[in-house]
């Protein structure tokens, strides 16, 4: 009985892993040069910022909330880091903590509003989206290129792993974040409280869990992740631009949903999100390899995948509810007969 329930909980993640393997397999069969170790590693290199954002978003969605500000928070941190580096000539040792603190501060501000005044997360974070985007323009309307040697070396560094294939420092950062997040979500009080809030907030409060503090922390953590992702993104583009990361909120929500996290909260995993990102990356690579399709098709494909996974989630829930109902009815039958 127990193994069965574990299987069921892992089922959405398994579906995602299967989807990834099938898509990657199809790509390998259809296109020459698709199946290569470096190509697989490139999936991680090109999407490291999405992995980091996805981690924060997973916590938010498991708690039953949503964070629409991640894309413009990323843009704001690219702008802030590039202007601090190039215009104010700060040292990277100061720039990185400042940018991360900014992310944490904005995230906690939104979390505080959501928690203290019981406001809908999507409105507060939607306003956050515009606030951060507007602040980008306050910093500069134009692109700021980064020449800083530390940034340059971080952008060009290749860490060799086995047989001529390499990863970038960004991947290392992403992997560290992922491992930390898996630990936090499974083995800390904070992580368990996040799941409890998503399952049923009222029950979590009645159980005496620190719901208020945790909710603020969740958004602060998401803000931290998106500002860290912004720094990683500047390693990738070596510039700051106010329009960076437009539409990344859906990309990120998509990867979380594809990874099997329920939008209603309470169920989900970090590892699922990682595979969600891999699926997302594979779609992009497939469209590039296909060659004739315009890159905007990625957006449409992602929208479609989110749709499919949301429908699947609803079906799962409906089936679960129906089963729970029939079990309840089965037990209630003698009572009904007695009446």
């Amino acid at each position: 009985m127990k193994t069965k329930s574990i299987n069921q909980r892992n089922l959405p993640t398994l579906v995602t892993v299967a989807l990834f393997l099938i898509m990657f397999g199809l790509g390998s069969v259809s296109f020459r040069g698709f199946f290569a170790v470096q190509n697989t590693l490139n999936l991680l290199i090109d999407n490291s910022y999405l992995l980091i954002i996805g981690v924060g978003m997973t916590f938010v969605i498991i708690s039953g909330g949503i964070d629409l500000s991640v894309g413009s928070m990323l843009a704001l941190s690219t702008m802030l880091s590039s202007s601090l580096l190039e215009k104010s000539h700060w040292s990277p040792i100061l720039v990185i903590p400042t940018v991360l603190l900014m992310g944490i501060a904005l995230g906690s501000f939104m979390g505080y509003l959501i928690q203290t005044f019981d406001l809908p997360p999507f409105i507060i974070t939607l306003a956050g989206l515009y606030l951060a985007r507007g602040l980008c323009y306050v910093i500069s309307i134009d692109t700021i290129a980064i020449d800083n040697p530390f940034w340059q070396s971080a952008a060009h560094a290749q860490i060799n792993i086995a047989a001529g294939s390499f990863i970038s420092p960004s991947v290392v950062i992403a992997v560290v974040v992922i491992i930390a997040a898996i630990f936090i979500s499974r083995s800390t009080k904070f992580g368990r409280t996040v799941y409890a809030i998503g399952g049923n907030e009222q029950s979590a409060i009645l159980m005496g869990l620190p719901v208020g503090r945790t909710k603020v922390l969740i958004y602060a953590f998401s803000g931290f992740c998106s500002s860290l992702a912004g720094i990683v993104f500047t390693f990738y583009t070596l510039s700051g631009y106010a329009l960076d990361g437009t539409g990344m909120e859906l990309d990120s929500i998509a990867t979380v949903v594809i990874g099997g996290t329920l939008l209603t909260g309470g169920v989900g995993s970090i590892i699922g999100t990682v595979f969600g990102v891999l699926v997302y990356g594979t779609i992009q690579v497939l469209i590039v390899f296909q060659g004739t399709l315009n890159s905007w098709w990625t957006r449409i494909a992602i929208g479609f995948l989110v749709f499919v996974f949301c429908v699947l989630q609803r079906l799962f829930e409906r089936r679960k509810r129906a089963r729970a109902k029939s079990e309840k009815l089965g037990r209630a039958e003698p009572v009904a007969a007695a009446r």
Binding site: L68, F117, I123, A127, Y130, G134, E249, R299, C310
Partner: protein, 340 residues
């Protein structure tokens, strides 16, 4: 003081006060703000510009009001505006001599139809599949821009067909043509919601969908059509946007409109928690936003920064609508009653 009380109790009162304060500010600080001239046979001036440029937002706000009244939200409207502009521009075609590829009316009808279908898609996801409105419309929020870009082959399409310019730039009896469109749509919607029981049904669904269902209201259908109508409004707004600049830019057409539309509705007194809605309030809300934008322009601040101001306004309004915040306020000021 009875008349004062009945006046302040009206929902439209506070949005009008906000608009008046903004106007008063401009009267003192923006030179020639209220000057209206007659040029080339039509009225010309800042105030007329606000009415003209605010028209797409007013159109969107009408659709958004009904969606928010059902406790939903539609953040796809900006992208749907881009789709509408893209479709109509591709159908009319960028012929340099201004010869339309397809009849203008048919092209416009097809564009609005496509957008209504987009709205129906949202409505289906929310009412039939049972997705949260924010996620359901988020799909089109991002995919819609992709669709618009694919429609226009990722290029900016310029139009040279003169008659089409009437929609966004034309004037009738001295007033902008788009303003008449807003008035017609507003009157039609006001009549169908207030003179029939439809408005009551929509409010009932927003206040308590389960109770509404037990009262015999087909909540699912109401939610479905409300989103379809929002798509329809976005389609018309897209035509006006496209005609104003005589081009379709899938990337920038309608960018950020969703927040403005939501803001307009909320400023107008409709609560994000659903229920009672105020169409005229939303129109006033749209005018407030447009005036704010013009004011920011007049001060020489880059228009992009107005996003910060708008975000702050959203925070303030959300706080005012929060019950917890209001009870905190009443605690501070020691008043038992707080006007709602």
């Amino acid at each position: 003081m009875a008349w004062w009380k009945s006046l302040t109790r009206r929902k439209i009162f506070w949005p009008l006060v906000a608009l008046a304060i903004l106007m008063l500010f401009n009267l003192f600080f923006t030179p020639h703000f209220f000057r209206i001239e007659i040029k080339e046979g039509h009225l010309y001036g800042n105030v007329i510009d606000i009415l003209k440029n605010g028209a797409p937002m007013m159109l969107l706000a009408i659709g958004m009001t009904l969606v928010i009244a059902t406790k939903g939200i539609d953040i796809s409207v900006g992208s749907v505006v881009a789709i509408s502009a893209g479709v109509v521009a591709m159908l009319i075609g960028g012929d340099l001599h201004g010869i339309p590829r397809h009849p203008i009316f048919a092209s416009m009808a097809v564009a609005v139809l496509v957008c209504t279908v987009a709205g129906m898609w949202n409505g289906m996801l929310v009412s039939r599949v049972g997705m949260q409105p924010i996620i359901a419309t988020l799909i089109l929020f991002v995919a819609g821009r992709g669709i618009a870009m694919v429609t226009t082959n990722a290029m900016v399409v310029w139009l040279y067909t003169k008659p089409f310019a009437l929609l966004g730039q034309g004037y009738i009896f001295g007033l902008p043509f788009s303003l008449y469109m807003v008035v017609v749509l507003l009157v039609l919607v006001a009549l169908t919601t207030r003179r029939t029981s439809l408005g009551l049904f929509i409010e009932a669904v927003g206040i308590n969908p389960i109770a509404a269902k037990f009262a015999g209201i087909n909540a699912k259908n109401i939610i479905f059509w409300v989103y379809a109508f929002s798509g329809f409004c976005a389609g018309i707004a897209g035509l006006v946007v496209c005609s104003t600049v005589m081009s379709a830019d899938g990337n920038n057409a309608g960018l950020g409109f969703e927040l403005d539309a939501i803001l307009a509705v909320v400023l107008g007194g409709t609560s994000l928690n659903g229920g009672k809605f105020y169409l005229l309030g939303s129109i006033v809300g749209a005018l407030i936003i447009q005036t704010l934008t013009v004011t920011i322009y007049a001060f020489g601040v880059p228009p992009e920064i107005s996003q910060v101001v708008k975000a702050v306004v959203v925070y303030i309004i959300s706080l005012l609508q929060s019950r917890k915040f209001r009870s905190m306020l009443t605690g501070v000021f020691g008043r038992r009653e707080f006007a709602t």
